[in-house]
């Protein structure tokens, strides 16, 4: 069973005075109904779960199968790969229209900028919010929570006017990255991980004469590596999958992330290709793979309950 291997992290308390982390790292144990009536119910639950798994995974299987069909086949038989009908033609066809490599590179730069910003500035802010005492700390933390519920629809128009018109950052990576530069959920996750570290650690380092920067770099940072993994995967899927904002600020195809160029392909170009659905799904596979692979690699940190508590604050 894999549960035992899971990093034993639990929902940290907000109060800095909470009990030491070691005593709290217990709650991962789950509730197993000891008195439950029997096999039938277990079978029923597995049926529900399996039905869910099929519903969630089938479209992805179908995406791959569809992207490999030379001749589009929407019939039930088409859901099973026919050896005679398999080819990479669709990948070639969509690459001719939207240049997948450029799209992937732009997505990478956009996402990379947000990741670097979040890891550098987000860790600093999280550390300041958890460990250091300074005027305005409570206010900034309240802001970080409030930002989570600010709906993008209210920000869309003013941000467009500011960034694309006033700052003249339309069609630039900087304009794309700016609203995603620091992920507030990641800041809250960092803060909660720093809060779990024992206070004495910091105090003794300070007494030994370590500067605040050194305490952060050599003591705190190595201890919160799991938080960084969680924050990386969380921050990655935001910009990588984002459509609306880069769609608003980039008109030049050369600068568009893959999500935007694929969307343009779906809404404008696909109809003029020989196998529109096949080409669309080939593009979809290319766009999905990096996020899914990264998720599978980091899934332990992503599926942990910290994420939920990060949003709850």
């Amino acid at each position: 069973m894999t549960v035992a291997k899971e990093p034993k992290r639990t929902k940290p308390t907000d109060a800095a005075t909470g009990p030491a982390p070691t005593t709290r790292a217990v709650t991962t144990g789950r509730h197993h109904d000891p008195s439950s009536g029997g096999r039938l119910q277990a079978v029923l639950l597995y049926l529900v779960l399996s039905f869910g798994a099929v519903a969630f995974l089938f479209p992805f299987y179908y995406m791959v199968v569809g992207s490999l069909q030379a001749e589009v086949d929407p019939s039930v038989a088409g859901a099973f790969p026919a050896p005679g009908n398999l080819s990479f033609e669709n990948y070639v066809a969509i690459d001719e229209r939207i240049d997948l490599f450029t799209g992937l590179m732009n997505s990478g730069i956009f996402t990379g900028g947000a990741l670097i910003g979040t890891v550098v500035f987000g860790v600093l802010a999280g550390y300041a919010l958890a460990i250091l005492k300074w005027r305005g700390r409570g206010f900034v933390f309240a802001m970080a929570l409030l930002v989570q519920v600010v709906p993008f629809q209210l920000l869309m128009i003013p941000l467009y006017v500011m960034i694309a018109r006033d700052f003249g950052l339309a069609d630039s990576y900087l304009g794309m990255i700016l609203p995603f530069l620091i992920n507030s959920t990641a800041v809250i996750i960092f803060r909660q991980f720093f809060l779990q570290l024992p206070k004495d650690l910091f105090d003794s380092a300070r007494i030994d004469g370590a500067s605040e920067v050194r305490v952060l770099w050599s003591i705190a940072l190595p201890l919160v590596r799991p938080a960084i993994a969680t924050a990386v995967i969380l921050t990655f899927i935001g910009p990588w999958n984002e459509f609306l904002w880069p769609f608003l600020v980039t008109k030049e195809a050369e600068l568009q992330p893959l999500a935007v160029s694929l969307a343009n392909f779906i809404s404008n170009i696909a109809a003029s290709t020989a196998n529109p659905y096949g080409a669309m799904m080939a593009g979809a596979v290319v766009l999905s793979i990096p996020a899914i692979v990264l998720f599978l690699v980091f899934q332990r940190s992503f599926v942990s309950t910290d994420l939920g508590s990060g949003v709850k604050g």
Binding site: H31, D33, S35, L45, V48, L49, A53, A55, F56, P59, F60, P74, S75, V76, F121, L124, A125, A128, L129, W134, R135, G136, R137, V140, A144, V147, V149, V150, P151, L154, L155, M156, I157, P158, Y160, V161, G168, E212, I237, N241, F243, A259, L262, I266, S267, Y277, M280, M281, A284, S288, A291, I292, F295, L296, Q299, V303, T305, G308, V311, K312
Partner: protein, 317 residues
């Protein structure tokens, strides 16, 4: 929300000097003034990307605002409630808000019921738990744009869904049927976002005290009865959060109607307010009207959130 809009850009505290400092300085800046410096980039970010634009949006919605060449000084007169009058007398706006209503009526109950059910099942079974959890997360981590491609294929006129349904297939097909376009979008969003809500319920379920189940068993409650009388009330605060986040997601709908139904079709039957803001504000060059739609939308979301808190989240601290 009001705290945000009323805070001017200047709130970013001035970076502090050395952490040493004399006593009055310490009283002014706190024990570790360096914290201000560490947090400064984030504070500036929030001010520039959140606080200022919110104020700007509200201000813009009361102006006769239009795009001008960068740097050009133009007169943008105060317009009072003109933009709001224009918005509220526009039938397209009413239709878009009605569409979100349809969306929420389908998406929210479906999300709550299915994610609680799956989280409960996941929390109870012993084997293959990781496999199930991971498989539920695959749609969540994938770009909407990518998943839309498959759904277009699945739900097209002679797509797999209609092939399976045979004579039961709707005509006109799902995404071009004005009665079914919005429900299909709601189904899509429910499916795609479910994993996150399962996660929220899962962490809530793990905090339900075992004694409650045992006490219920002693009282002779069966599994179903225990689920209804113990589990459902115990995860109430998670349910509140799920309701709130699902409502915000619904209000933010853009990519799905833009791509899945080709820009809110058929005949605006699946237009969302954000899609309308894009069309009015950026395509047609009326950012002031779009800002007014945004303000109305946010006020409505806050109202729905308040209702939810009142009726579901009451016991929350």
């Amino acid at each position: 929300m009001t705290t945000l809009s009323s805070s001017p850009v200047g709130t970013a505290p001035a970076p502090a000097g050395k952490p040493s400092g004399s006593r009055p300085k310490r009283r002014l800046l706190g024990e570790h003034p360096l914290g201000t410096l560490f947090a400064a980039p984030y504070v500036v970010f929030i001010a520039v990307v959140f606080a200022y634009p919110i104020g700007f949006a509200v201000w813009m919605s009361f102006q006769d605002y239009f795009f001008a060449a960068p740097g050009a000084v133009v007169d943008r007169p105060f317009a009072g409630f003109d933009n709001y009058v224009a918005v509220l007398s526009d039938p397209d706006v009413w239709q878009a808000f009605g569409n979100v209503g349809v969306f929420l009526v389908i998406n929210v109950p479906l999300t709550v019921v299915l994610s609680l059910l799956l989280a409960y099942a996941l929390n109870t079974v012993i084997h293959a738990r990781t496999f199930f959890r991971v498989s539920y997360f695959v749609p969540y981590v994938t770009a909407s744009v990518a998943v839309v491609a498959v759904w277009l294929f699945l739900f097209s006129g002679n797509g797999l869904v209609n092939q399976v349904l045979g004579p039961l297939a709707p005509d006109p097909s799902w995404l071009v049927n004005s009665a079914l376009a919005m429900p299909t979008i709601a189904l899509f969003v429910t499916w795609k976002g479910m994993a996150f809500y399962i996660l929220l319920y899962l962490s809530a379920l793990q905090n339900v005290p075992k004694e409650l189940y045992e006490a219920a068993s002693v009282d002779g409650a069966g599994r179903v009865r225990r689920f209804i009388s113990v589990t459902v009330p115990s995860v109430r605060s998670a349910t509140f959060l799920v309701l709130l986040l699902a409502t915000i997601t619904g209000a933010n709908l853009f990519t799905e109607p833009y791509l899945l139904t080709g820009g809110g079709g058929p005949n605006g039957a699946s237009t969302s307010p954000v899609l309308l803001m894009y069309q009015r504000g950026i395509e047609q060059g009326n950012p002031d009207v779009a800002a007014a739609i945004g303000v109305i939308l946010v006020v409505l979301v806050l109202f729905v959130a308040w209702l939810q808190r009142r009726f579901v989240g009451r016991e929350e601290s």
